[in-house]
Symmetry: C4
Subunit: 227 residues, 4 copies
């Protein structure tokens, strides 16, 4: 998919990262986004402040080679390294043929994962009855939404296998929560990935806020995670 | 009413949607606004990111024909579809002769509806004693504000009848809450609709925050919904 | 005091109102600011959206005549009316020789007032031990801050006398809370008024958040309001 | 380190202060930042609104003389005074050879300090298991993060010694919390200082939000502060 409105994909990535920073998703250099275009896979570097990225900071990787990271066009600054999220982003490209993947450290994702998996181990986030569910793929109604939660690991790349297992166990879901960490969300296009990321963040926050009010959107008892 | 300050109505709609996005009302492509001008009824398309709308994305519909959606001028991109909210927006144009209607997915509206209707069924939001009530039509004092809550439905258009019934039952109120979903607010002009939407959002949040503090703005016992 | 940096006072008022809107202080056309300059007293009109004010919307009143509202220069649009806050703003000009006054509907002010005066009647907000207190006039240390709370009234202008009484009872304090309504804050200059308004809002929020956590910044027992 | 992208250090300080204002770290003229460049130490003046600083407001001090404040280049306005934080900032330059230090009044820092030191006396903030910890120096894993808390004092400069003592007791930590006040965070470069400040703020908020939910990121019992 094209980047949309007279923007190149690297420009779009920079603009989206500024927006995600304002949403509290990518502070402290964490989080990020990767988009697949006709030229290959665009991905941000590691360790840079996401709200200050410039188009010349973005890597372009070969999308014919999804088993490693073959750089087609490096950033202007040769010292930059590819984001540690690359293998996780590639899960979505390989297993789902995604057009874009994003990773958020939103506190709502972390608190929701904690609520449904207090130990930090594998689990499942569940909610139902909220209109914003309809923004998710395959969710045209108000039924139950289930999102797998996987345990965090010392190094981000070590999540690759458990994230892939969760994706296989939940083929209808375009998100994986990581306990104490955040969430990965993808879509066919960058717009669908972003829309779904906003819907999930809303659902995570709604569950946390309802819990605080002593209400109960989350049927915690019924939850039987598949991984 | 004119759009105000050297802006066309489509430009104004785009600007307001960016503002509503920052307020958390229209994330994930949800929510929106429709404004009636001399030329007809302007309405945003379905499924686009609201903070990224451009004037050429806006539909212009015939306001002499409120029983269907007669397109006077379609958006530049012929694939766009009219917002699913259209029949709900038309309730306000038909039943109240509104100049503008907006629909927000604000979490404060959803939590307030949940607080007053834990089952998600029909109910009534009640508050009193808050200065911001004075920004609502017919509320020059600090008396009781009542807002009808209707149950949500699988498809947005299916809300049309229950919303109309609530509007008839509450002729002095310019808002209808939808459980698990959000709120519709209208006014004689876009400015009045927006002002009232901001006042309602404030009241919804105040009720939720007061409940969290163990205080009690909301006299839940007295509530006898009319629908 | 001059408006500062190459801005006229009407321009400054518009800019500050946009900033206050982003802080959640002046939504729904509520709240506002009045600044005294060499030419007279500048004040916003009633009922306009505060984040959309333009310099030509601002009234200029005669500051030699503080007992009524003598318009020196009206806004370009002759239908506009002076803000209903005028008599309240004039309390600060008359009783304290203020250079600027602002009025916020911040939810933190409303919740803090509610916490210290659950009935909505007169009371006193108390806090201590917070660094941000030092931004308040006469508060070079971490001792106790006291802010009078007055009851709200059906019409804003009816607050004039009780606000004046509170100001006389608390000569060292540059703020008056109004239950269910908001807060008035003033200062020698617009910069001091704004700085104090930000410090007070922080203290109100800190008290509310601490209460939610079951901690206790607010020594409620010691409170003996003077009005 | 250079200021980065075509900006002078004074311009960068102004831009960062605007960003910190939006994050709620430097309202009411509180908080600030100091950066060391080739020319010396750049520091903001006292008492100015941080989101409105201009490059010509910034002091340049001699970095060969860290025991006093030798002004190399004063601001354009001769009435301005150096920020009261200077001796605290100098702790980081002297004891850690920092390239930048920032000071935030974030409510999350204040609430987190209160949670771990309800009396306001010395203590220790503790958290573990959160991905954002990895953005901190020396924290490549998910182990325990400890941040010293020192008691506040009537005048900011009086914190100098206890802050230095805490820094010596926690040589691997680049932050010191001040009870009822905020936090100091530093780094080798302004980018590292900012990244760490964002990570710490996230951790402080996560601890407060988890406590509100009745969860427990913070192992309060294990805490044995070193100062």
């Amino acid at each position: 998919m094209s980047a949309g409105r007279n923007e190149s994909i690297p420009e779009l990535i920079c603009e989206l990262c500024r927006q995600f920073y304002d949403l509290g998703w990518v502070s402290g250099t964490g989080g990020g986004i990767s988009i697949r275009g006709a030229e290959g896979i665009f991905i941000a570097p590691s360790g840079l402040q996401k709200e200050r990225l410039r188009p010349e900071d973005i890597f372009l990787l070969d999308h014919a080679r999804l088993d490693d990271a073959h750089v087609v066009c490096p950033p202007a600054d040769g010292r930059l390294k590819i984001s540690e999220c690359r293998p996780l982003f590639y899960n979505a490209f390989k297993l789902r043929d995604a057009g874009a993947v994003m990773h958020s450290h939103s506190l709502w994702a972390v608190l929701a994962a904690r609520l449904f998996s207090p130990s930090g181990g594998p689990g499942e986030f569940v909610c139902q009855g909220l209109e914003m569910q309809k923004g998710l793929r395959g969710q045209g109604n108000l039924g139950t939404v289930r999102v797998p939660i996987i345990a965090n690991t010392a190094r981000e790349a070590e999540l690759t296998e458990s994230m892939a297992a969760a994706m296989l166990a939940y083929p209808d879901v375009d998100a994986v929560l990581v306990a104490g960490h955040g969430v990965y969300v993808w879509g066919e296009t960058w717009a669908q990935a972003k829309t779904q990321a906003e819907c999930y963040d809303y659902l995570f926050r709604a569950a946390v806020e309802a819990e605080r009010l002593g209400l109960g959107y989350q049927p915690r008892v019924d939850s039987k995670p598949r991984v």
